[in-house]
């Protein structure tokens, strides 16, 4: 069941009403049953895979808490191996096998390892990371093991964030399932606002841009470099609105019922450097890697070369997390290289800025930094979106060498105008939030009529130019 469907809207209304009608002690059960139904609406049998890891992690948590010394570590390792093992089989087995076939093929040897005819369960990477954060936090003593199997299951299956995050931490979410949330008007309205904004991002911006991006990226040989540059910029906004739109809907849906999920995006395209970008983009994943991998590797409290290595390896693995394809690995690695290069070149860049006197023009400097960061991000997105590595390099080559028409043949001009309109509205609203926080607000206006008219206009815009036959959210595949 995808968020941008009538089925989900009806499901959400039904579950929310039932949630507030039911006595507190039954609510967790309702949410768990609803979450199971929500997940089974995709491919029912895959709930068994979640069930397998849930049982392991539930008992692992209890055993880790009850044991001392090496046994604690043993249970943690067993839990991590089970989680990563499931992910490896479903997500990486055929990828590794493909590469083995290629490798053996270069020695004229056939690959004896069979392929598995399996589909990746939707949202398995998100579920796995959230489950791993639980056992790690119990091991570290930051979280008490959850004794109620149902509540633990709900923690890793809570339907708003089950298939595409935010990847929650047990300290933030688990205790909320035991809290008594009354119907709170302000919170409900705030949650619905977030959901509406998420639907706008998904239907008006992401799905509209997808039409152009898919047409260009699925046939790069036939496109001009100019078309591919535009398609890449469009993709930057598409993936942002697709994913952050999902997060908005998830966070909003949870908020309506009283739950606070962590913020996942903070207007990332206003970042002035790559490091800041990663503090604003997919925050729940970035912080997950920071808390559980980067710091475990020693973070920046190591030798400088090792620090660079730590940064690079985190982004390399982040790329791998996103998908079993070299394109994602290159994308992740490229971001790692950006970060390392930014650190190495910091002194030189400061000197250049000083010599050129750019420091004296802070606004212009700020603007250019945003543009450069956006350009670097877009360059990396080429690898993320391209269908394969060969296409990525072809696209990059064409972007720099092949001038031609901006619009590809058969592009619908009205759809193109709607694309720009969507991006313009998005940027206008985000710029307002970024730079003019305290000024006039439509959605939080003191006057009820202005507020209601603003919501109504947003709904009308969605009806007028939203794409209602759009596809799934991009991040479902991860």
């Amino acid at each position: 069941m995808i968020f941008n469907s009538i089925e989900f809207v009806l499901f959400f209304i039904f579950v929310t009403i039932a949630y507030f009608i039911l006595p507190y002690r039954f609510r967790w059960f309702l949410l768990l049953a609803a979450s199971c139904y929500f997940y089974m609406a995709f491919v029912p049998v895959y709930i068994l895979i979640l069930g397998f890891t849930i049982v392991i992690d539930y008992f692992a948590g209890i055993f880790i808490e009850n044991e001392q010394g090496k046994k604690r570590k043993l249970y943690l390792v067993m839990s991590l191996v089970a989680n990563i093992g499931v992910l490896a089989v479903f997500k990486y087995y055929n990828f590794l096998n493909d590469n083995l076939t290629l490798l053996l093929g270069s020695f004229n040897t056939s690959n004896p390892v069979p392929y598995l005819k399996i589909l990746l369960p939707i949202g398995l990477s998100f579920h796995t990371f959230q489950a791993m954060s639980y056992t790690i936090e119990v091991y570290r003593g930051n979280q008490k093991a959850e004794r109620n199997f149902g509540i633990y299951s709900l923690y890793v299956m809570f339907y708003p964030q089950l298939v595409a995050g935010p990847i929650e931490r047990p300290q933030n979410l688990l205790h909320q399932f035991r809290e008594k949330f009354d119907f709170n008007y302000n919170r409900v309205v705030e949650g619905l606002q977030q959901m509406l904004w998420g639907f706008f991002k998904k239907l008006v911006v992401a799905d509209r841009l997808e039409l152009y991006v898919n047409a260009a990226y699925n046939n790069p040989q036939q496109q001009s470099g100019t078309t591919l540059v535009l398609a890449t910029i469009f993709f930057a906004f598409q993936i942002y609105c697709d994913f952050s739109g999902y997060s908005n809907i998830a966070i909003g849906a949870a908020k309506v019922m009283g739950f606070d999920l962590m913020t996942n995006f903070k207007r990332p395209y206003f970042s002035t450097n790559i490091s800041e970008f990663w503090k604003r983009w997919h925050i729940s994943l970035s912080t997950w890697f920071k808390d559980y991998l980067y710091i475990s590797l020693g973070g920046n409290r190591v030798s400088i070369p090792r620090w660079y290595f730590n940064l690079f390896i985190v982004f390399f693995i982040s790329g791998l997390w996103h998908g079993a394809n070299w394109t994602y690995i290159i994308w992740g690695s490229l971001n790692g290289i950006y970060l390392v290069f930014a650190i190495i070149s910091q002194g030189a860049r400061d000197k250049v800025n000083h010599v050129l006197g750019i420091e004296k023009l802070p606004r212009l400097n700020h603007f250019f930094q945003i543009l450069i960061t956006f350009a670097l991000t877009c360059f990396a997105w080429v690898f993320f979106r391209a269908n394969n590595v060969a296409d990525s390099f072809l696209i990059i080559q064409k972007m720099f060498t092949d001038r031609g028409a901006l619009l590809f043949d058969k592009a619908d001009p009205s759809s193109f105008i709607f694309s720009f309109l969507g991006i313009f509205m998005l940027l206008a609203i985000e710029a307002k939030h970024e730079y003019y926080k305290g000024s006039f607000s439509f959605f939080h206006n003191r006057h009820w009529l202005v507020r209601n008219l603003s919501y109504a206009v947003l709904i009308i815009i969605i009806l007028l130019i939203g794409v209602f036959d759009g596809g799934q959210f991009i991040y479902f595949q991860f």
Binding site: S414, S415, N452, Y455, I460, L464, V467
Partner: protein, 316 residues
């Protein structure tokens, strides 16, 4: 205590009252904007939507052409009129396939029975896929007044009739096209060629080798073909199924073509398959792109088809 204060004390009631107010504002805006869009939609005098309205609500031509962009660009009504001595209109619509064609046919048959229909079908026409269902949204403006097309539009999703409670929804993503269709500027620039639009490009790249893919056939689309044939028979309309030329080499016959051949033989309907015709595929200068003939190719093709139709009619 004031009424509003009492409502504020009960969060549920307060929320319900505010939600009701919002829904009222949305309803008023949706209804008003939807009405305006509907008015201007049906007032268009040029463009793709105008052509659809003309085909569904107005044409009385003896010969009608049905199909996708390949019909739209391949059949020249003037040549058909001259050769067959009957009036002709091309209802071909870019990006639309048999589902759309069948819905249009049902709407037309409700008004009158054309003497002849040429249905142009493409390779991969019956392949399983969502696209041709999603594209039925093009027919949403007609849903309200054309009961006969509803079962077909409902194939898009089971929620269409509920979504259409919004007056705007039927005109989603259309307002720029509606503006264009009402603009004198576009009207002056567009010559009405009875639904046909010539393409002027010349294809200069090598022929596209088709990687043969055996695909699943969509049973709904297959049933639409038999319904299309049956409805024409019932109305006494002569039907000719044609697959127009394509600049692609096939190693094996496309499964959709095999199916059309089989159904046409069963239903005793003439099927002219030009998808392998070397008199076109050997001449790239007749094509605008691999899927479409240019004006020169279209004129040659239309003459060839009408000649074959004349022969077929004479033989019957």
């Amino acid at each position: 205590m004031m009424f509003e204060d009492r409502i504020k004390q009960n969060a549920y009631l307060y929320f319900a009252s505010r939600l009701l107010l919002l829904l009222l504002i949305v309803f008023v805006l949706d209804f008003s904007i939807g009405k305006i869009l509907r008015y201007y939609y049906f007032k268009q005098e040029t463009g793709r939507q105008y052509r659809a309205t003309y085909a569904i609500d107005k044409t009385t031509a003896d010969v009608l052409i049905f199909g996708s962009s390949r019909a739209y660009h391949h059949y020249v009504p003037d040549i058909i009129e001259t050769n067959l001595k009957q009036s002709c209109y091309n209802t071909g619509s870019p990006g639309q396939y048999l589902l759309y064609n069948y819905a249009t046919l049902r709407a037309i048959l409700k008004r009158y029975a054309p003497k002849m229909i040429i249905l142009d079908l493409s390779t991969s026409e019956f392949q399983v896929g969502r696209d041709s269902y999603d594209r039925l949204s093009f027919l949403l403006p007609y849903y309200k007044d054309h009961e006969e097309i509803r079962p077909i539009v409902d194939l898009k999703s089971r929620w269409e009739k509920f979504k259409l409670l919004s007056s705007i929804y039927a005109f989603n993503s259309s307002f720029l096209m509606i503006a264009g269709g009402n603009s004198e500027y576009f009207k002056k620039r567009t010559t009405d060629l009875k639904g046909y639009k010539p393409l002027t490009g010349v294809w200069q790249k090598p022929i596209t080798p088709e990687i043969f893919q055996d695909y699943k056939l969509d049973s709904v689309k297959v049933s639409m073909l038999t319904s299309f044939i049956d409805d024409c028979n019932r109305a006494g309309t002569k039907l000719f199924i044609v697959s127009s030329p394509i600049y692609v080499t096939y190693r094996e016959r496309d499964p959709s073509m095999v199916l059309i051949d089989k159904v046409a033989k069963e239903k005793k309907v003439p099927f002219m398959d030009f998808s392998y015709d070397t008199s076109f595929t050997n001449h790239p200068f007749l094509f605008n792109d691999p899927s479409h003939l240019n004006e020169k190719g279209a004129k040659l093709f239309t003459a060839k088809v009408t000649g074959m139709i004349k022969d077929s009619v004479a033989a019957r």
